[in-house]
Amino acid sequence: MSRWLIFPLLMLFSAIPIEAGELRGTGDLGVVVERAKGSLQVIETSGNSVLGRIDGLGDLSHASVVFSRDERYAYVFGRDGGLTKVDVLERRVVARVIQSGNSIGGAISQDGRLIAVSNYEPGGVRIFDAETLDPVADIPADYAEGQRSKVVGLVDAPGNRFIFSLWDAGEIWSVGMSDPENPAITKYPNVGKNPYDALITPDGRYYIAGLYGEDGLALLDLWYPERGVKRILNDYGKGEQKLPVYKMPHLEGWAKAGRHLFIPAVGQHQVLVVDTDNWQEIGRLDVHGQPVFVIARPDGRQVWVNFAFPNNDTIQVIDTRDLKLVETLKPGKGVLHMEFEPRGGEVWISVRDIDRLQVYDTSDFNMLADRPAEKPSGIFLSARAHRTGL
C-alpha cells in the first residue's frame, strides 16, 4: 500500500530541481542539446524521463559536451565560441566564457583539471581551468606565414595530452599539458588533405583522423609517437565516383567491436571495417546513405549507423559477428545522434525535424520512450566522464 503512495510523490519530485540537502547520484543522468533554442535538456536513463532544462547557452548548432570526473558538471562547447559549465544536478549555469568567434568541440584532460576547446575562428586550441574557466593556454594553429588553420578532431589522450587535427594544413598536433605553464607541442605535418574529424580508440592508444580531401585515414600510434603518422585504407575509394556529401561524417563516438574498427566512408554509401591488429581493411558494407555516426554498442556486438541528408530519416544496425545488416529503423526525419546507455541495453536517439527524443531497446528494437525536445541534436550521458576521448 505505502509503495503506491510513494510513487506519485517521486514523480512530483523528479519534475523539480534537486533541492539542497536532497541526495541523488548522477550516474544515470545525461544532457541533450536543443540546437535551435540554445538549451540543454537534462535526462535520466533509469526511468527514461526528462528532468528539466538549462537555458541561455548561446548558439548550439554544432554543440558537444564533456563531463567532469565527478559526473556533476557538464562543459558545453557552442558554435559561437561559448564555453559553458553547467551543474547537472541543480540545472544551472555555473560559469560561462565566450572564448572565440566560432568553435567546434572540446575535451577534458585525463586529470580532469583542464578543458580544451578547438576553434575555427581564430583557428587554434584554447585551454581553460576546469574549475573556474580561467584561461590557461592559447595555441594558435599557425602553419605557415600568416596562415592559420581551422582545428577539428580534438580529443584527450593518456599522459594529460590533447591531440587535434588542422583542417587547412593537413597536420596533427599533440599538446602535452603535464606542465600547464609550458605546453609541449609536437607537430606531425603532411598527414593528408583536409582532415575533417578524428577519433581516439577507447584504450587511448591510436588517434585516427579521417580525410575529406583524399582517400584513406591518418593513424598516430600514441604508444610510439616517434614513429610518426602513417596512412591506412588508402585504396578505399579508388576508381569510384565520389558521391556528394551533404553532411560531414563524425568519427568521435568510436566504433570498435573487438579488434574491428567500423568507419564511415566519405563520398561512398559504405561502412568500412578495419582490423586494428594490422590496419588492413577486412570488409565494407553497403548502407542506406552517407554514414554520419557509426557507433558500437558498448559490448561491441552491434554497430548503429545514421545518415546524412537526404537519408537522415533512417538508422541501420550491423551485427558484428558476420558483418550483416540486421535492422533498419525509420525514427523520423533528421536523426542526428545516437547515445548508448553505458551497459548497452538501450539507446537514445535525437530526431531533429519532428522534435523528438526516442529510446529503443537494442535487443528487439522496440521503442521504449518517445519524448518531446526542441530540435534535439547531441545526446551525452554522464558515463562519458570515464571514457578517454569522449
Partner: protein
C-alpha cells in the same frame, strides 16, 4: 525625382521576383528549415560559418545572385560544397540565394 525612380524600380524588381519564384508558403518554410539545419551543418545554424565559409550579407555583398544560385545548384568542385540540384528547382535556389544575401534570422 531620382529617388522616385529608384523606388519605382525596386518595386518592379521585387514584383518580378515574387512572380518568378512562385513558391508556396509551406515550401518556403521547408526551404528555410533546410537552409538553417542542412546548409547550417557546415555553414553554421546562423550561417556565420563552420567548416564551410560564413554566408552573411556582409560576406556575400560582392557576389551576384546568379553566382550564389549556381553554387547552390551545382556545388563547387574542389571543395566539400555539394550540388543541391536533386532537391531544389532553379527558382527555389534563386529564392534561397536572395534570402541568404539579404540575411535570414
Amino acid at each position: 525625382m531620382k529617388r522616385t525612380a529608384l523606388i519605382a524600380f525596386s518595386l518592379i524588381s521585387s514584383a518580378q521576383v515574387a512572380q518568378a519564384s512562385d513558391i508556396s508558403s509551406a515550401r518556403e518554410s521547408e526551404l528555410l528549415n533546410l537552409l538553417k539545419h542542412d546548409c547550417g551543418s557546415c555553414h553554421g545554424l546562423s550561417l556565420k560559418g563552420g567548416l564551410g565559409p560564413a554566408l552573411t550579407p556582409d560576406v556575400l555583398r560582392q557576389k551576384p545572385i546568379e553566382y550564389i544560385t549556381a553554387t547552390i545548384l551545382y556545388g563547387r568542385s574542389g571543395t566539400p560544397m555539394p550540388p543541391w540540384r536533386p532537391f531544389l528547382s532553379e527558382g527555389e535556389a534563386n529564392w534561397l540565394a536572395q534570402r541568404i544575401k539579404e540575411g535570414v534570422q
